[in-house]
């Protein structure tokens, strides 16, 4: 005993991986029962998924006829229909245009996400993007054939409604939040409260129907609104109320001293808000704002219900063809993968930003 101690032969006991895993999964009776139940669920789930996705599926390069006998996924369906799902009925030979337009918007979002570039230049960037997007999609200028808005379908419509809806709603939301936060102008405050509470009290579908049915009635005779525009206006009205509430959360955390300090410097209200209050409030409200953005992006898919052909509607279109009728789940899987990927990027970004600022 003494011998081993003196020669320093005492090491930490090595625990084998088997012991670690046994302790993790079967440490107590409760853990063991839970492990067995979860294992059964996981194995059943994985088996069904693997069977459907790979083992019983038809490989993408085989032809359609092979799908009839298979019980799993029909990958040739996606090979055949992916362009229809992405761009819908946009003229087939011009489909490079929605592709480039979508890529432009995605690139714009990526650029706007870099904190170093978040300043006045972004406003110019988005004006250019809006013009570029419209020119590419609509055409009608030399070299580009005109394509009527009814044939804009799929991914570009989703991106356009989601991104421009949010881009316009954001400043409006900040203005609403500022109007609600102050107490010097009670009439303006009342209007902001009414707007926010009314919009947040009804479902998004109701606001979309408002855009569909009531907005055209409000226009004078000679103006007819394109459904895409009315939908965009409805989305802006809807999202601005939610942005306002996230921003207000940030505004409330800015200490009183900051307002007083700004006042004592003799800054005007506009200077005070722009230079002192908003930068602090927005920084604090960022996680909430990004949550709103994520929700708004997902909810943009609801526009299908009022007959706008975004990516969900083109997915439905792709399997309404009698020959391909059985492969709806493949189409929805494709759309689901797109949403999973983009939403995952957004939420990772939000987590990264939170870590960075705290």
């Amino acid at each position: 005993m003494e011998q081993t101690l003196r020669t320093g032969n005492v090491t930490a006991p090595t625990i084998s991986p088997v012991t670690i895993w046994r302790k993790r999964l079967f440490g107590t009776v409760r853990d063991s029962v839970l492990t067995l139940i979860l294992m059964a669920v996981i194995i059943a789930f994985v088996r069904v998924a693997v069977d459907w996705l790979f083992l019983d599926a038809v490989t993408p390069w085989r032809d359609r006829a092979a799908c009839a006998a298979a019980t799993g996924a029909c990958w040739p369906f996606l090979v055949e229909k992916h362009r229809l799902i992405l761009f819908g009925t946009y003229p087939w030979e011009h489909q490079w245009r929605p592709l480039v337009a979508s890529l432009l918007l995605i690139a714009g979002v990526v650029v706007s996400m870099v904190p170093r570039w978040q300043d006045k230049r972004l406003a110019w960037l988005w004006i250019c993007l809006a013009v570029g997007f419209t020119v590419l999609m609509r055409g009608g200028v030399p070299g580009l054939e005109y394509v009527q808005p009814e044939r804009w379908n799929g991914l570009p419509v989703l991106l356009m409604l989601a991104i421009f809806g949010l881009v316009f709603a954001f400043p409006l939301g900040i203005a609403l939040a500022l109007a609600r936060h102050q107490d010097q102008l009670p009439a303006i405050r009342a209007i902001a409260v009414l707007w926010i509470e009314l919009v947040r009290g009804v479902p998004m579908i109701m606001v979309l129907f408002l855009g569909l049915f009531v907005l055209p009635l409000m226009m004078p005779d000679d103006i007819t609104l394109n459904p895409l525009i009315t939908t965009m206006i409805a989305l802006v009205i809807f999202h601005s109320a939610y942005f306002a509430e996230s921003v207000r959360g940030g505004l409330q955390t800015v200490p009183c001293g900051q307002y007083e300090a700004a006042d004592s410097q003799g800054l005007t209200w506009l200077q005070k808000t722009r230079l002192i209050i908003l930068p602090q409030a927005l920084k604090i409200a960022m996680p909430g704002i990004l949550n709103t953005v994520l929700g708004a992006y997902k909810d943009t898919s609801l526009v299908v219900i009022i007959g706008i052909h975004d990516i969900m509607a083109t997915a439905k279109m792709s399997f309404s063809d009698p020959v391909w009728q059985r492969y709806g789940l493949e189409a929805y899987l494709f759309v689901g993968a797109w949403f999973l990927a983009t939403c995952w990027c957004l939420s990772s970004y939000s987590r990264w930003l939170e870590r960075r600022t705290s």
Binding site: R24, L25, R30, D31, L34, T35, L38, M39, V41, I42, Q184, L185, P186, A187, I188, I191, L198, G201, V202, P203, M204, I205, M206, F209, L210, F213, V214, L217, M218, M219, P220, D221, L294, K298, D299, S301, L302, V304, I305, M312, K316, R326, G328, L329, Y332, L333, V335, G336, F339, L340, C343, W344, S347
Partner: protein, 378 residues
Amino acid sequence: MRLPRSQFFWQLLVVGILVWLGYVLASNIEANLAKSNIVLSFDFLSGQAGFDISESLLPVSSTSSYGSVILAGVLNTLTLAFCCIIGATVIGVLMGILRTSGHYLGERVAGFYIEITRNLPKLLILLALYLAMVTALPVVRESWSFFGLVQISNRAVYFPVIEQGIGLYWVIAMLVIWPAALLILGRVAHRIQERTGIRYPVVWPVSIFILAMIAVPATTGLIEYPLSWPVLRGFDFAGGGRISVQFLVLVLALSIYHGGQVAELVRGAIQSVPIGQFEAARASGLSFAQMTRLVILPQAVRAAVPSMGNQYLNITKNTSIALAVGYSDLVSVMTTSINQTFRPIELMTVSMGVYLGICLIVSWLVNIYNARVQMVRA
């Protein structure tokens, strides 16, 4: 009170612009409606609707008035919201507890579930689930039968119900008394325990009593419960009760979707309970179930109530996606009526009023509950 004059000016300017805008828009509406010879009025609500809704708690047919059809839509929305709230809460609380259980697999399974539901639109979950169910379930004529009691087809689930009459009213009355009795006697028992320390059981005695009240009259022949069975006739079942696949899919999809968000709330609430409480509970020799039920959840509820109330409001509003699978909720009835009567202004006003009313009532109830569970600071 600095700069009163400029404040007055700005407010006057904004209000003036809004009034002017409102006037222009309203006069445009009037001009547009006048062109199609429509005057704003709610008289059409008593007119015959002429369309049927698929399922409702009210006896509605195609000869009913618009008013009663809309009321049936409101009831459908409320039923749907109620079922989805229960479903989402059950799934969410289970997953939230699993997420914080410290069990290796459990935490990961719950995390996977939350991540998936967070990153998919609810409409996609709904449509995919609907498609899967309609293709996986058999057609009506070959419906799956479970011991002849329940029939499941890709249109609806059919089951026997008690025929309308004294028996049904008796059962409904007992089912209403049950929770009320539990609540009142539970409170009495609680008070007795606080005073004397003696703990009387409540749940089992009351439940057995209620069941006996339903069962005993039947054996003596005092009250009869004639059953109506679903019978296959032609292309559909007649008689019995039915729940449509649309309703089931909606409840399932919205429960799954909101379950993920509820789980995140529950996780946040559980993590807000100080770690010392867990240690103290373990040191007292409580089992995991006891610790969760008696120590952790009562404290977590306090942190979760306000955001849970918000979540319930969201669920209620999100039932409006029912339109996508053709379930007759308020929005669906509203759009059909708008298409038939072209009275968007009146119908949208009514529906928005209903939603705002529901919101007000729910947040009022949540505030009452919140005031009860919050810590009282002396």
